[in-house]
Amino acid sequence: MSMIETDHLTKYYGKSRGIMDVSLNVEEGEIFGFIGPNGAGKSTTIRLFLSLIYPTRGKALIFGKDCIQFGAEIRQRIGYLPSEVFYYEGMRVLDLLQYSASFYQKDCTQRLHELADLMELDLKRRIDDLSYGNKKKVGIVQGLLHQPDLIILDEPTSGLDPLMQQKFFNLIREENKRGATIFFSSHILGEVQRLCNRVAIIKEGKIIDIQDIKTLQKNNYKKIEITAEGLDEKRLCIDGVSNIQKMNGTISFFYKGDINAITQLVGAEKIKDLTIENLNLEEIFMHYYE
């Protein structure tokens, strides 16, 4: 079953663009990455899912139900971590978390304390005394304490130190194993690459590609570096080669196509060194945006 299903979801703020014709499916049990630069429409899409804002056209279904009409019911099963967390100042962390827990139709007390222990969160402190990173931790505990079926993360790692990030990723993987579907929006591609099964790439409000992360890397460009004496880079200018550069006798380029074409070309040369690797997500990403 699709956990999230959008059909030509479009949002304009007055005349300025939010997102245009976003159609995507997130299947049960997936960790779905949603990547794009600032202002591409990631947060807009998420806010539409949560019916904080309403679409200009199109619709979004979550758990197969319209996300506006059944908003409150759907949100029983959603955990949301916004990119910037704001809570009522003057409340203690524990009071806030218990307040949040009181809205869900299950007892969240045990999970609340487990998560707080895991994230090393001091429950006795007041919200206004917390640093940015600690507020984020409150957000993580608050978003996960009711063991949601769908977890929506909007740039979740900002403000967390590397150790905490690691803990957080492990937590997300565990939640995923438990059966939760994850919608992970980020512009930090390394973390998406580590965590996600599939990604959607959004650019200027439009989805430009949705791919399995492995196919995205495999079927796409290879990064090739050749160090060989007397090899003229002009000989390498065949179909599928791009970004060709020569530095200190090493020629590097991106290649998309049959790898044998390259090996035949350079087979006769005296090669000192040769590396062929998949592009990391960052390089693919940059390629999409150039």
């Binding site: 806010r47 904080l52 908003g71 409150a72 009522y88 003057g90 949040s100 009181s102 608050q142």
Partner: protein, 264 residues
């Protein structure tokens, strides 16, 4: 229910401050009254003052040497204090979530926007009622030393009823502005401005008979304390008008808030 209690807790400090203001006002007011109390000389002083000034201060209609008459003059200030509190609470209660950027928390909880509004409005009504009861109680306590008669108690009770209506009108107006206005940061200053303008209109209305039609515009004129004292009843047309204002504002607020984008 949890939202209701949360809002009561969050608004506790503000409620305490307003209660303090009302009690202080009563304290000062009634101690000033000791100068008027059974003192006919002051009446002649008042007779020498310009009629327009007396009318603006609503001192014409009352015999200031009786505690009932004196309270009649204080009513206009209570009108102002209690409605300012109501309009500020009303405009703040919904829009503060957007102002403090907590909408991404409160409205991603599994509740509908309408149920959130209902709980919040209930909390404001509760606050208004507590403030009204404090006003009522402190008035009765401070008036004790002047041996008020049964007419006084009756007048005070009627006045409290009109104060409640006034609170509800301005609370509803505040809520409406807080829900509708795009610049939510300005909703409470806008609400207070509207309140003050209608207060001044109500003063102007009292100055000339030709301006009598203005009394339909400003809620401060709906229940004239002097008429209330002498006739002991509220005019039905203004009760209806008040209820219409309240219902229209609240309905408008619900419709607008459930349909619009939240500002994040």
């Amino acid at each position: 229910m949890n939202i209701f209690f949360h809002e009561l807790r969050a608004n506790r400090k503000s409620l305490l401050i307003w209660c303090g203001i009302v009690i202080l006002f009563n304290l000062v007011g009634f101690s000033k009254y000791s100068a008027f109390y059974e003192n006919p000389e002051l009446l002649s002083v008042l007779d020498g003052m310009p009629p327009a000034l007396l009318s603006a201060l609503d001192m014409n209609a009352f015999n200031l040497t009786t505690v009932t008459g004196f309270f009649g003059v204080m009513v206009i200030y209570f009108n102002l204090i209690l409605s300012i509190a109501a309009v500020m609470w009303g405009s703040d209660i919904i829009s503060k979530e957007e102002r403090d950027k907590t909408v991404e928390f409160s409205l991603t909880l599994p509740i509908t926007r309408a149920s959130l509004m209902t709980a919040k409005i209930a909390a404001v009504i509760m606050n208004c009622i507590v403030l009204l009861l404090v006003t009522w109680g402190s008035t009765l306590i401070f008036a004790q030393r002047y041996q008020p008669d049964s007419k006084f108690y009756h007048f005070v009770s009627l006045t409290m009823l009109t104060l409640l209506l006034l609170q509800m009108i301005f609370m509803a107006l505040g809520i409406f502005l807080g829900c509708v206005m795009k610049k939510h940061k300005q909703s409470s200053s806008m609400a207070v401005s509207i309140l003050l303008v209608s207060y001044f209109i109500s003063i102007i209305t009292g100055l000339s008979k030709d301006l009598d039609f203005l009394k339909y515009i400003t809620p401060f004129n709906y229940f004239d304390p002097a008429a209330l004292l002498h006739e002991s009843k509220l005019e039905p047309i203004f009760i209806v008008l008040s209820l219409v204002l309240i219902v229209v504002s609240i309905t408008g607020a619900y419709l607008s808030y459930s349909k619009r984008d939240l500002y994040i």
